[in-house]
Amino acid sequence: MRLDPLTLKKIRRFRSIKRGYYSWLLFGLMLLLAFFAELWINNRALLVYYEGQIYFPTYGTMMPGNTFGLEYAYETNYRDLQKKFQQEAGDNFVIMPLVPYNAFEMDLRETEFPPFPPSWKDRHYLGTDTIGRDMVARLVYGFRICIIFSLLLLVVTFAIGIALGCLMGYWGGKFDLFFQRLIEIWSSVPFLYIIMIIASIVVPSLTILVLIYVVFGWMGMTWYMRTTTYKEKARDYVMAAKALGASNTRIIFHHILPNAVSLIVTFVPFSVAGGISGLTALDYLGFGLPPPTPSWGELLQQGTNNLHAVWIVASTVTALVVVMVSITFIGEAVREGFDPKLHSTFE
């Protein structure tokens, strides 16, 4: 992709803002870790060496226990397998991921009841939640779902907002007026109420939640895009293009949109942050994704109800603070880089 010098300059300006740039690196790392979470948080082994053969169970279908000389045909318990191989002290070995639990299994013990506090020895680095699921696994997989939700929401709302807003601004007239009233009514509808009413009848899946959020959340972007198009349309270069005989499509796609989009970029980080906090709030109230989906909101709910197990709420809140603050710093730097407001200071 060839970037024009103006965009390059904007990116350079973004990178020169250290706080935002380092937040971006941190956030990128978190994204990467979350999307390859199977490789470091999993109850499946990374690698099993058994009788001269090497197995990689992480991705792909499950391997029954009898593959490795165990007596059962359901999925191998690699943690037990590792202990068994260690006791046998043969050539066989198992390499487990850093956190040898997945987000759904409950670590049940005979003598104690969960929640278990953080323990290096059990490899529950942040402890477990109230029914014994590993906190690190819940947090990372929950983050992944949250991010997927936010990105889906972002793409759909921006697509609708840009298309509709652009038409409203460009066509104006009755079309504009109709959607203006619609937006005014629609944005006054208390949308958390509606989501909660709907979520209480249908068990919401990720797609349904995104859809509901889109239905009640497309207005902001549309409104902004309308204003921008409106302003751009009145400028001389559009008139010049028209005078040269450019068609409406050409004016919109080649002239107005490129100018508007550079401003829209500045909304992306804040929209992602909004998605994360929205989903977390819904899950916290119990109207989000159904259990046992790992989610931060559910962990917050657990944590505030079990204040003796303070590690639950502490690690969730820390994760949220790190993510939200880094997104905000990114957003601030993107805005500064792409839509700079230079202040002449008083001397």
């Binding site: 706080r19 009233r181 005014e184 009514i185 006054s188 509808v189 208390p190 958390l192 109420y193 509606i194 909660m196 009413i197 709907i198 209480s200 009848i201 942050a273 906090s277 977390t280 709030a281 916290y284 109230l285 917050l300 944590g303 505030t304 204040l307 303070v310 709420v313 502490a314 809140v317 949220l320 603070v321 939200m324 603050v325 997104i327 905000t328 710093f329 601030e332 407001k341 202040h343 002449s344 200071t345 008083f346």
Partner: protein, 342 residues
């Protein structure tokens, strides 16, 4: 100008109708309303009594006869089409009758009236405190642009902006209130409030409300502070300030007599929006701190499918929100004589 505001006020009516119609329709379309709840309750009663009579309740799926259900439908107005019963409901609203709660069988208005003072208290105090802190902070940041104070306070304000209010509420609830025991665990007043002296009562309310107030304020904080800072800086760089100083005015009086007054205009546009916050509050924060306000009432009624209360809360908050928008415009016109609406 007057005609503009009259037009705006008239436009509130169709918008209000639109909002209530949308919510009313949704509440009517979803299952699990009061009738279903009564059926479930009756079934439960049958079950607990029916241990002796065996499977009589199992034979008949519904514990109520069709006639009884019809009667219930009539009682709750479910026997008519949506539009007709919406008009019925609307007619009652016009004479300020919000209906009767399907849970408590009390008039909705009485229930809402009980919660109003709590919400209004938080709304008003939040608004006042936000202005009291943000305006001086914004001025300070503008004058000391790019100094140490400016950049550190920017970071703090931005972190506050990054966190959703209810996360801040949870943090404040878990540590200062629950772990360290500095503040009471939620609620609006203590249980022995009646027995306290006046001074103790005031202290009690303050003690209870410190944490929720921080959670309420923190969101609007960044917007306000940066708005104040940026507009003030724009004004400080403009020619009329330069002229004023060239003519011998001190920097201080140039800032406070000229630039500051002009910079308050954009803040005024935000003022009306606070009105809806006055009362609606944030039910998330109210839920975390278990504050018995309007937000929590709406939320609980929604969970319990007590739709008359849900709609009642909606009527009040949406009217206030719409009036708040107009009030914002009015404030702008008030402080800025250049603004002309037509």
């Amino acid at each position: 100008m007057t005609s503009y505001f009259i037009r705006r006020l008239l436009l509130v009516i169709p918008t209000f109708l639109g909002i209530t119609l949308v919510v009313f329709t949704i509440t009517r379309l979803v299952p699990g309303g009061p009738i279903e709840r009564i059926i479930a309750q009756a079934r439960q009663m049958n079950m607990s009594e029916g241990n002796t009579s065996g499977g009589s309740s199992l034979q008949d799926d519904s514990p109520l006869s069709p006639d009884q259900i019809e009667e219930l439908k009539k009682f709750y107005g479910f026997d008519k089409p949506i539009l007709i019963s919406y008009l019925d409901w609307l007619g009652k609203i016009l004479v300020l009758d919000l209906g009767v709660s399907t849970r408590y069988y009390d008039p909705v208005w009485e229930i809402i009236k009980d919660k109003l003072p709590v919400s209004a208290y938080y709304g008003i105090v939040t608004t006042i405190l936000t202005y009291l802190v943000c305006i001086p902070l914004g001025v300070l940041k503008a004058i000391k642009h790019k100094s140490f104070i400016d950049s550190t306070s920017s970071i703090i304000v931005l972190i506050g902006y990054a966190l959703p209010g209810f996360i801040v509420a949870i943090i404040l609830f878990v540590w200062p209130a629950a772990q360290w025991d500095w503040f009471p665990l939620g609620g609006f007043i203590s249980e022995d409030f009646e027995d306290l002296t006046l001074a103790e009562q005031i202290w009690d309310v303050i003690h209870h409300s410190v944490l929720p107030l921080i959670a309420y304020m923190i969101g609007g904080f960044a917007t306000m502070t940066f708005l104040m800072k940026n507009t003030l800086m724009d004004h400080l760089a403009s020619d009329y300030i330069r002229t004023a100083i060239a003519k011998g005015l001190s920097f201080r009086s140039a800032v406070f007599k000229h630039a500051f007054r002009n910079s308050l205009i954009p803040l005024a546009t935000h003022f009306g929006n606070n009105i809806s916050l006055f009362l609606a509050g944030s039910f998330l924060i109210e839920k975390v701190f278990n504050i018995d306000g309007l937000g929590l009432l709406g939320f609980e009624s929604l969970v319990e499918r007590d739709y008359p209360i849900v709609l009642g809360v909606l009527v009040i908050t949406s009217i206030l929100g719409l009036l708040g928008n107009i009030l914002s415009d009015f404030c702008v016109a008030l402080v800025d004589p250049r603004v002309k609406f037509d």
